[in-house]
């Protein structure tokens, strides 16, 4: 499975953020998307998820059945500030999701909560009462159940405590088989530790940073150098 981006361009008024991007993401990998503040990482995700109108460009999903236009249902998007329907309890929300998508249910609701380590007591709380990290878990859980082919994660581990971060990392590693996961982050160590490939958004373009035989230290330096070369900053 491949996600192919063709000629993606997006501007805000006079400011061009993404310019004629061509890139291919492959299945079974976690991609770490790095870039300086304001270069357009979230814009790139929003464009893929059709949350914003783009100036030009096409997205295709190539599977064993052929190459088709990317549909939003193929995407699961975990945003940096998790937003959940706060008037529902966690259990009601997940149950609602399973009710409307019965074909996606592969486990019992308890087993699902077990995956993200949410206790029975917490399941009964209104999502309004959940912390940032807990809300994030719920967002990821919905994406795990819906099992989209592509998962976009916009700084998902920021402001989570270390224990939850480790749980999340494990979850993502478990999920990467059969999926394309793109994770945007500012934490270089996390990207190197968790991701299979590092891609950089700079100068309105996406490019892969080749690791080859480089040591971690040299790889880091190479990434930082490439980030520093961003003429937009």
């Amino acid at each position: 499975m491949k996600l192919e981006i063709q000629h993606l361009t997006k501007s805000y008024g006079e400011k061009e953020v993404l310019k004629d991007i061509d890139f291919i993401f492959e299945e079974g990998k976690i991609y770490g998307l790095l870039g300086r503040n304001g270069v357009g990482k979230t814009t790139f995700f929003n464009a893929l998820n059709e949350d914003i109108d783009i100036d030009s460009g096409k997205f295709f999903l190539e599977t064993e059945y052929g190459k088709n236009k990317l549909k939003t249902k193929d995407i699961g998007y975990v945003i940096s500030t998790p937003i959940v329907p706060e008037f529902l309890t966690a259990k009601e929300f997940i149950q609602f999701y399973l009710d409307i998508n019965p074909e996606k249910q592969k486990k019992t609701i308890e087993e699902y909560f077990e995956l993200v380590k949410i206790s029975k007591k917490d399941q009964e709380l209104l999502l309004k009462e959940y912390s940032h990290g807990m809300k994030n878990k719920i967002q990821i859980l919905v994406n795990m159940i819906s099992n989209p082919k592509i998962i976009l994660l916009d700084e998902p581990l920021t402001s989570l405590d270390i224990v939850i971060q480790e749980e999340m990392k494990k979850l993502l590693k478990d999920m990467k088989k059969d999926h394309i996961i793109i994770l945007s982050t500012h934490i270089l160590e996390l990207a190197i530790d968790l991701c299979d490939d590092i891609v950089i958004l700079s100068n309105k373009q996406i490019s892969k940073v080749e690791k080859k035989e480089l040591t971690t230290k040299k790889y880091k330096d190479k990434i930082i150098k490439q980030l520093k070369d961003d003429k937009n900053e």
């Binding site: 006079e14 949350d51 699961g76 998007y77 937003i83 329907p85 009601e92 609602f96 009710d99």
Partner: protein, 522 residues
């Protein structure tokens, strides 16, 4: 003090200049001519600062004049026989209302944020300067307004002076008491909506007393002005001694999330519709056997019951009081008997405006967006056309249900009044009840449809679509114009029913066609 005032003006004028540039750049012909660099041009800004100041000054004067003249001419038309006494009566009560809700020290603004938190101005000086400035401008503007009615309508100077200074001194007491209340209970008193509506309702009822020929006598004004002068002395001292204004403001500001693009009005909207943990409990009976979207919508309604029904219940209660009042009037006063009789005979169209005014559709859509759609629209499954449409149908029923209590009060109130007026015709009555209910359906559908077709809100409940505001304004305007139609009741009911059915059918078709692409996050 001067430097604080100067800085404060600079902030105000810079804001208005930037807003002007922003609006200018939105106009297609100027967009290409004026680049973003215009915001950086300090020399240009310095040159037009005077005009900006003039604009802000005119705006302040104009707003005050509009408020005053609306009040004045409303009294002129509502109480033609004794408009002077009635006007002073209403003015004094409105000043007392202002005493409770007009709160300059505790409200939040971007300017305050910049002055106190970013520029770190001395908070005591800032508080004193801005307070004195507000007091003096209000005194001058009130003076100007009263000068007009003394000059052109020969209103007595004694009454006018009392009114001007009553407003001046009451505001001092109001600010001090509100601040004291906040210090003690850590919330602004009118966040307690029950108390707020109770006091507001009571005072508004008192202001309506001239309708039954009761006005405050002159000696009450004398007592009120003496009380306000006496009360203002400790209030001045209290306000002068405030030392921790920055800390208090910081706290209110963080509550309001002011710089997170929210203004106080939007914050109040958020507070009104925000779901509370105490609303969690739902009767098992209500959700038994329900699944999916049906369950989702039921839980939404049950957890927002208090929020959604509160204002419609308040309107319903006010309407019951109004109908009882009208009943008392028509049984005791032949003039009122004939007036109300004429209303039902020729001016039934007024109920269009009343039903428009009563409809809580906008609160319902705000609650839907703030607590539900704002989050759910992030999930792709929720944006599927079938989901949007299936939930739309359920929500339409919910909105109609929310508005049903005041609707029924009006429908039943009309029957009772018409029986007393001896106008009771069973066939006409049934048509009228159906018409009132269909007006509820009409306005409920209207609000929901424009929400689905334009989705105007951002995450802070700010309205981001001008088209939405224009339609809301047009709805008001059209409802008002329709209400002025004078015609035969049966004819009007017949024609308006046809229009309502036509509008609903057409709009539903539009929603079904367009909502899947228009119902999205801004």
């Amino acid at each position: 003090m001067n430097s604080i005032l100067k800085k404060s003006f600079e902030i105000d004028t810079t804001y208005s200049i930037n807003s002007f540039f922003y609006i200018l750049r939105k106009i297609p012909i100027f967009k290409d001519l004026i680049t973003e660099d215009i915001y950086k041009s300090t020399s240009l800004k310095r040159k037009i600062r005077f005009f900006s100041f003039l604009y802000l000054l005119c705006k302040k004067i104009l707003l005050k004049l509009v408020y005053f003249l609306v009040l004045f001419y409303s009294c002129q038309s509502l109480f033609p026989k004794n408009n002077m006494n009635s006007f002073f009566h209403v003015y004094f009560i409105f000043t007392i209302i202002g005493f409770f809700i007009n709160n300059k020290l505790l409200n939040v603004s971007k300017k305050k944020y910049i002055c106190l938190l970013l520029f770190e101005m001395n908070d005591t000086s800032y508080l004193r300067t801005s307070f004195i400035w507000n007091q003096m401008t209000n005194l001058l503007l009130n003076g100007l307004c009263f000068f007009m009615i003394i000059k052109f309508y020969h209103y007595p100077i004694s009454y006018s002076l009392i009114a001007i200074f009553f407003s001046f001194f009451t505001r001092v007491i109001g600010e001090a008491l509100n601040y004291m209340y906040y210090q003690k209970y850590h919330y602004i008193w009118y966040s307690n909506t029950r108390l707020y509506f109770f006091i507001l309702g009571l005072l508004l009822s008192l202001s309506a007393l001239p309708l039954i020929h009761i006005e405050l006598p002159f000696f009450v004004y004398i007592i009120l002005i003496i009380l306000s002068i006496v009360g203002s002395i400790p209030s001045w001292i209290y306000l002068w001694k405030i030392k921790n204004y920055k800390a208090v403001y910081k706290k209110i500001n963080s509550q309001v999330k002011q710089m997170d693009s929210t203004n106080e009005k939007d914050y109040m909207k958020q507070m009104m519709v925000e779901v509370k943990a105490k609303d969690k409990k739902i009767s098992e009976k209500k959700i038994r056997g329900k699944k999916g979207y049906d369950l989702f919508n039921t839980i939404f309604f049950e957890r927002h019951k208090e929020i959604l029904l509160r204002s419609s219940r308040n309107y319903g209660i006010i309407l019951i009081i109004v109908y009882i009042g009208l009943l008392a009037m028509i049984t005791n006063d032949t003039k009122w008997f004939h007036n109300i009789h004429d209303l039902y005979e020729y001016h039934i169209a007024w109920f269009v405006f009343i039903m428009y005014f009563m409809n809580r559709g906008s609160i319902v859509t705000q609650a839907m967006f703030f607590n539900c759609d704002h989050a759910m629209l992030r999930y792709n499954f929720y944006r599927e056309p079938s989901t949007i449409l299936s939930l739309f149908k359920k929500r339409l029923m919910t909105t109609i249900k929310v508005n049903m209590f005041p609707t029924l009060v009006i429908a039943i109130g009309n029957i009772i009044l018409e029986i007393v007026l001896k106008d009771f015709k069973i066939s006409l009555m049934i048509i009228q009840i159906l018409w009132i209910i269909s007006l509820n359906v009409f306005f409920s559908t209207h609000y929901l449809i424009i929400y689905y077709l334009l989705q105007p809100y951002n995450k802070d409940l700010e309205i981001k679509k001008i088209s939405y505001s224009v339609i809301v304004l047009l709805t008001y305007f059209i409802s008002y114009q329709v209400s002025r139609i004078t015609t035969n009741t049966l004819l009007f009911l017949g024609i308006s029913m046809i229009i309502i059915i036509g509008y609903i059918t057409l709009s539903l078709r539009l929603v079904y066609k367009l909502a899947p692409s228009t119902f999205k996050l801004n």
